[in-house]
């Protein structure tokens, strides 16, 4: 069943050692982690804002300070006309503009309704939404204050509490998911290419006339890449904890074990892809075809619950979905085996499916 496994494995390790691309085997996941980790910054903070203060009184200056102290707004410049305010937003130099009318302080003192205009660039919906909420909340609080009320005196008080990620750091959400995506990317490419290369160079035919069995050939190729995948996971985890300061709340050994479980379908997918491709260019295209859905639909970037029904159902067919669920569960929520065994089972089933499929497809290619 697994005849020739050792021979293939030793040969594969020699290939890996001698391949100049091996130098980048650990650099690639690190670069990806840094790029993604820093680029996908969804935290809305210190947004560049221009102020048109026509009142120029103590009260108006206090209001600007209060906008700034929400930490969403950062006054980058003061402007002196409506045109200036407009052009700052149109040119993109500022995402928001605060316009305080000349009557602001007088209205406050006289107990009339004081209006303040906040212009927000709506083209970036995430940022705009945050700024909108922040400015509304500020207005609400100011009103309570001037009516002599404090928050304690309100008849109903809603007290939200953020669990697991109290500071709403987006790195905490993205970096664990990123581990799954990187691990999949690297292992799928490596295995698919290592098989396709044999076909391309004509060595596959030579292998098939030896007594090496299909199982021995496939597993002999998988094991070395499994080991690489593991080392990469470890490295990425260390960088996550030290550089991105994302603490691991759950058990590290469970995390490593389940990462091992995930490697089975990931590597299996690589072998399946290799049976569809006869050269490395084709393997590249087929890999992208397989990998793109797992980046977009696995919940790595967009929450799956808000996807259209068909796509939501589709996301269940992607192994990365479950692994990302596991990663976030263990790292962020400290989830343990009781909460994660079903995901692990699904991953394992995918793995068995892919490997069975690859053995079948291998047979077919022999005619």
């Amino acid at each position: 069943m697994f005849r020739g496994l050792w021979a293939v494995m030793r040969k594969e390790i020699l290939h890996i050692r001698r391949d100049p691309a091996t130098r980048f085997i650990f650099a690639i996941p690190l670069i990806e982690l840094l790029l993604f980790g820093y680029a996908i910054e969804m935290d809305v903070k210190h947004i560049s804002t221009v102020v048109l203060d026509l009142n120029r009184q103590e009260e108006s200056r206090a209001l600007v300070k209060e906008f700034e102290s929400t930490r969403y707004f950062r006054v980058s410049r003061e402007v002196y006309s409506d045109q200036e305010l407009q052009s700052a937003i149109v040119s993109g130099r500022a995402k928001a503009g605060i316009k305080i009318p000349p009557t602001y302080s007088r209205d406050l003192v006289n107990g009339r309704q004081a209006t303040v205009q906040v212009l927000i660039d709506g083209s970036d919906s995430t940022t705009a939404l945050r700024l909108l909420q922040a400015s509304q909340a500020l207005g609400f609080l100011k009103s309570l204050e001037s009516a002599g009320l404090t928050q304690d005196a309100m008849p109903v008080e809603v007290r939200p509490r953020l669990l697991f990620n109290p500071n709403l750091e987006s790195a905490n959400f993205f970096v664990p998911g990123l581990i799954g995506i990187i691990l999949q990317l690297v292992t799928v490419f490596l295995t698919a290419f290592s098989v396709v290369r044999e076909r391309e160079r004509g060595t596959m035919e030579q292998l098939l006339v030896t007594p090496i069995s299909k199982g021995g050939l496939i597993l002999g190729k998988l094991f070395p890449y499994c080991a690489i995948g593991f080392l990469q996971t470890g490295l990425v985890l260390v960088v996550m904890v030290l550089l991105f300061k994302v603490p691991i709340h759950g058990s590290v050994s469970l995390l490593l074990f389940l990462s091992g479980v995930f490697l089975v379908p990931a590597l299996g997918m690589g072998i399946v892809i290799s049976t569809f491709a006869s050269n490395q260019g084709e393997a590249m295209q087929v890999s992208v075809l397989f990998l793109l859905p797992s980046i977009l639909l696995s919940g790595f970037i967009f929450p799956r619950e808000s996807m259209p029904l068909v796509i939501y159902l589709l996301s269940f067919l992607i192994p990365a979905t479950y692994y990302i669920e596991i990663l976030r569960g263990i790292i962020l929520r400290g989830a343990g085996w009781p909460a994660l065994w079903d995901e692990a089972l699904v991953l394992l089933s995918f793995g068995v499916l892919f490997i069975a499929l690859s053995v079948l497809r291998f047979k077919k290619r022999l005619g």
Partner: protein, 313 residues
Amino acid sequence: MIKTEGLTKRFGDLVAVRDVSFEIPRGEIFGFLGPNGSGKSTVIRMLCGLLQPTTGRAELDGLDVVAAAEEIKRRIGYMSQRFSLYEDLTVQENLDFYGAAYGLRPARLAERCRAVVGLGGLEGRETQLVHTLSGGFKQRLALACSLLHEPKILFLDEPTAGIDPVARREIWDLLFRLAQQGTTLFVTTHYMDEAERCSQVGYIYHSKLVACGKPQELKRLPEITPGGAEWFAVLCEEPTRALGLLRENPAVIDATIFGESIHLLARQGTDAETISGFLRAAGWTRLECRRVLPSLEDVFVTLTRRHRAQLGG
């Protein structure tokens, strides 16, 4: 040692190999010839267990190629048309891998490595990376790898394609030595001089085996000398011009240049004197004409023409 009966392979509507039967005794060098795409590689692949025959059967060393495919793998060596070793590994690493693939124990592997390295003249190159070897040495290494497990039968698909003449001769010397030791060799080639060296040749055309036997037997086949026709070799000056004239002569069925002389097939009753006379009348003074056996090239060209005519008509 190798025996096929009605071996046939279809790929959909295409018949790649049609009803091929032959038998090769132990220790023979069987030369397998035919134009590109005629089915040579398909036959080899079926014999090696890489492809399943659609109908018909084949036996190697008394074992059925389909039923005992795994058993057979240990008894055969295969050197494919394309160079198929790992160029990023060294000579020794390639040998080690193929040895391990055939399940040789370390002590036995070391012993066999010494033997095949000696046989292939690869001494001193063990630590060299394969991609730095010349074409001839790569081919010798491929041969060495396929001999590690001492196969009883060795299949070589165009082993000398694209190698220089010296390397070509060295490989053939090696093949003869193997045959002497009792290995049965199955070799495909396009080179007629190589075919002449084989103890048996088979010629496949358009997926059918159209001739099979010892070279000397094939040269006496009735199809090659139809209706008592005979082959002559003419040695003369300006052979190209002479060839044109001879082809117009009604007594000449076919003529071609072969080396420095003209090979021609003449109808029954034509003798060397008639041909010499014809050329003398046309102005040639110094010429020599004698009856010869056809070359294998004559044999195969004639067979190909006959079959093409049959297929066309």
